[in-house]
Subunit: 345 residues, 4 copies
């Protein structure tokens, strides 16, 4: 059994980790920390866990964490980068669900996150944990930077196009939509049901923190810098991300090849499902599941390729992908604990 | 492996049976029937099942069904009563998720369902499948009538009060609220998102089909006829039932004993969770899970006991309870395939 | 033109007052106060008001308020009772939308609101502003206590039964359901979309602040103390309250007379709509409108009368009723500014 | 008073016309037709209209319609084109809310709507009723083709860019999102609350009927053919459309001029609100109102201009714009009956 620690477990990614690990046959949660809720049983805060965990939140204790095989960070940015070096020194493996180790260019990181990076050497060493791209590196990694939610849906949707060089990489558009759980579990007025319910809007349209992460991943796939515009939107629902992606084929004739290209690229991927061209993936088809479903579209004989891509922001966009990374890191079946179908309807 | 047939699989209880059985280690779905969708792969209709089932819907074939160990009926009322006798003769066991075999008084049944009952002998033999009441009978049963969704939440909430004789059984009130999936998957204008969304209303306030079923179950618990008023309401959400129950203590002093009474009654029940008095069970705390959570309340020193009880109408209120019944019938661990925590948030 | 001041305008009742007053032909908003948002144009916070108001929030200024004909308080409890005496002395009329002047028994008030009352003489003088009960008193009043949202829906639903003495007033049950805007516009975690969305629960089941207000109003109607149990619930929608009321007829034969009784009671009321017996009022049928719609139901020949009653919690349950009270106080047509139909769908 | 007829009044645009006309001081609804509901009072179907209309639905009667000053068609496509010629001959003016007269190229119309056009001479004469573009022509028109919902939000958002020639008109992208009422009030399984609720998806991504209408309008604004990709999405809410538009500046330096350009273009438009650059218009800010709100965005120094544009699909996207057109046609104040602020929250 892998001994698991979770740092910062009171948010939505924390409870989602617990939900998934509750039925994972090879993982045992040893501790889950929260300064503000120390002493509170996790099942008091999250009644869906009643009967599954006897655990209470505890103050973070370096000695206890150092005794774990794997520590997940489900903290706001800025926390993991301060605690990770000590865990690395202790030989503990870490999957960081926050943004601390996702961006390689630390000036960029500092600009978007408003603070200098405090663990630059580990930022350099961290493996960006998108298993569909970096499975082998993840297997060996001591520190995995778990991708953001939008970046997961958008990178998986664009990858085959960019890897194949069939589209103009300088003018990519990603129109993203997310449920409200993506904003976390903090008492912000703007995220009240009274504000979010029965309404729809864009946000961060002049620049969102996930943009540099998306750009970095797409550039790696393309083998060159990319130009990408990303506009996120808030959907009056709890879970789910949909991204509608637009790219321009350098030759319109290539469209017919794309379906095969996508199917080939993801044929062996357990968590990426390329639906028949023209399908419309729904976020509910991945609710609670670790899948990314996608489909290709073209309008008449246009050169514009459209990709629609859906994930559950808390699963493939956070806790599920973190457990997938854990499975890879520990040499387990990659789908262990992640096999249940999505909750539809 | 138990060989499973599902009759009428295109509705929400059908897909929910498949979702649960997809990861059940002892069950294998052999066939799933639908006259209207025969030939269509189930995963085309329900993309959450892509990768889980190769099965297509088929015309109901008596020979194929007769080769199953267990057949679930997920049909509108009136279908199972016509097909069950032949299956019974073939020695097949049946869990009927429809209303056909729930009511023992067939005049009552005929009045509420608008047709004469066509299998009266099997209506007499059928075991009403609320495992918390009839586990032993279910174990032996060839035909189990799976309870309705509201009746499950309401009976479980009232049972300890009625079995103990502490309340006036002649004036019980059950105020029920359900998500829209409870109305099934048929193209009714009244169930459009444009009609249901962002609104709340009672329906069936002058009499709902679940009333006689509730009355029958509560009378059995009380050992006498009961007077019960039941008003269902439609909530703008997909899944979940909450029932708020009101009963009057014959002696106000008895309130203090009630929490212990409830905890004792359900101590060994794997799927009933009595929360601390004063808790407020949320439907999301059971979303996708087979649990019923409940809590007791009193206002000042009133003689009125309040019980709030929640289930997922498609799980403990339908498909989950059906699988629980299957586990009981086949001597398996009752929680097999039903262990995953609810999806919260 | 009536010169209007609004104290505490940043919450949902504040913006709702502005929405209604924007098209009221006899009212002009002179000032709207907010300590935290002083200087911010109201249309920056509430873009639906762009083009309707040039006003900015301002620090509360006693001199400015004293220059108004009418001041609305849309503040948390505890604010109005401190400011009202000075306004009374200045001869300004006040409609207080908070709870400060609703309860006549100040010990009860202090117990439920956790502080001593600071303006007891005005609590005694205030008129409880339910126009369907106290129209004449409101006309003369200098200080009107605008009723709470649940109390409005519940009192209007029960009134004819209690005034007629046809039911047992000692055992009334009110099962209330409210959209999330009822909790106000404060950054509470429990009211996030991620917490409220796609879920349903009771809250305050052991006692809610609206209980003493409901009890006081029902007792006045009955001419005797009443026994009432009130359980509120949170619905995953923004606006709307539905209350399902249960009472027991002293003689079952009286049911037939009830429809006529209700229609007679409310025949001349512009904002109470008694639908045909057996109808199911929907909250959306009053969204944005000042109406209360209700209907009567009975199950078989039961002695239990069921009344379903709906309002928009922000309109008839707050700002609309406040403007109705203003119209009454200033001798205007009671429906002025309140004539537009509800927004359905 | 303008005598109004409404053909096909049972759908969402029909009830919305009634809601708006109920308080319009210069319009009187004489008849509202529905073959299927003939004889049913409109207030029985739409209880928000109780007390506002005594009218019942009636069979369409050419004589009665010919006696009206203005007839609105709120019918599925294919109906108006058969009835309009007779009304034109009778000198009646018509605003058609369906798609019958929106497209000038009738081969295109026939291809997208699956039938030949039956009134080609009137298709040629009809004025496309976007008042912000064609106010003068609308004033004189006998037949106005009321624009579609997406086309309204998208054209208004793109117009200043295209009229100014500052962007590459060959590669425009419009990512649209709509609430469920946009699909109308018919019993389609795909539009059930159980299917739409708590989920998000694209639809019609390979080509939607609004595409040729959008293309026609944008080409007229640009003075040349345009290349536009349009992907609509379904949002789990009832009302509202948001469109996020992407275009590429021919010179990046031009971005600074755009805000002024938009403000100038719409300065005198009563129903178009250009918010400060970087704002995020929400659909709720126009709920129930006839406004289109929009804002401009740029990411870093990109050449891509982003416009976010919101309307209420049933108001500025249908019935409200139809009444605006009526006001223009009859020489009334264009905002008559359309002045109330949106319902927020």
């Amino acid at each position: 059994m892998i001994k698991i620690g979770i740092v910062g477990g009171t948010g939505y990614t924390g409870v989602e980790l617990l939900r998934i690990l509750a039925v994972h046959p090879e993982a045992q949660v040893q501790c889950i920390t929260s300064r503000s809720e120390a002493g509170v049983p996790v099942a008091d805060m999250y009644p869906n866990l009643r009967g599954h965990f006897d655990l209470a939140f505890s103050e973070p204790d370096p000695a206890v964490l150092a005794g774990c095989d794997l520590v997940f960070f489900a903290t706001p940015h800025g926390v993991a980068m301060r605690m990770v070096p000590e865990l690395m020194a202790a030989g503990v493996r870490v999957v960081d669900l926050s943004a601390d180790f996702r961006i390689k260019d630390l000036d960029t990181w500092a600009r978007w996150y408003g603070m200098p990076h405090e663990a630059p050497e580990w930022a350099a060493n961290a493996v960006y944990g998108l298993p569909e791209v970096a499975r082998n590196a993840i297997r060996q990694a001591q520190l995995v930077a778990n991708p953001g939610c939008y970046p997961t849906a958008i990178q998986l949707g664009f990858l085959p196009l960019l890897e194949s060089g069939l589209v103009d990489a300088s003018r990519l558009i990603a129109d993203g939509k997310s449920g409200a759980s993506g904003a976390g579990r903090q008492g912000k007025i703007g995220m009240l049901h009274g504000e979010v319910g029965e309404s729809f809007k864009a946000y961060g349209a002049s620049g969102h923190r996930h943009l540099p992460e998306i750009r970095q991943g797409l550039a790696a796939a393309a083998g060159q810098p990319v130009g990408v515009t990303f506009v996120p939107h808030l959907v009056p629902m709890v879970r789910g991300i949909e991204a509608t992606l637009y790219a321009e084929l350098t030759t319109a004739d290539d469209f017919e090849r794309l379906q095969g290209l996508y199917e080939d690229r993801y044929r062996d991927e357990p968590f990426v499902d390329v639906m028949p061209a023209g399908s419309h993936p729904e976020t509910r088809s991945v609710r609670g599941a670790n899948h990314c479903r996608m489909a290709l579209h073209r309008q008449e004989d246009s050169k514009t390729v459209i990709v629609t891509s859906v994930i559950d922001n808390l699963v493939k966009g956070a806790a599920g992908q973190a457990v997938q990374n854990m499975n890879v890191m520990f040499g387990l079946d990659e789908t262990l604990g992640l096999k249940a179908p999505a909750l539809l309807p």
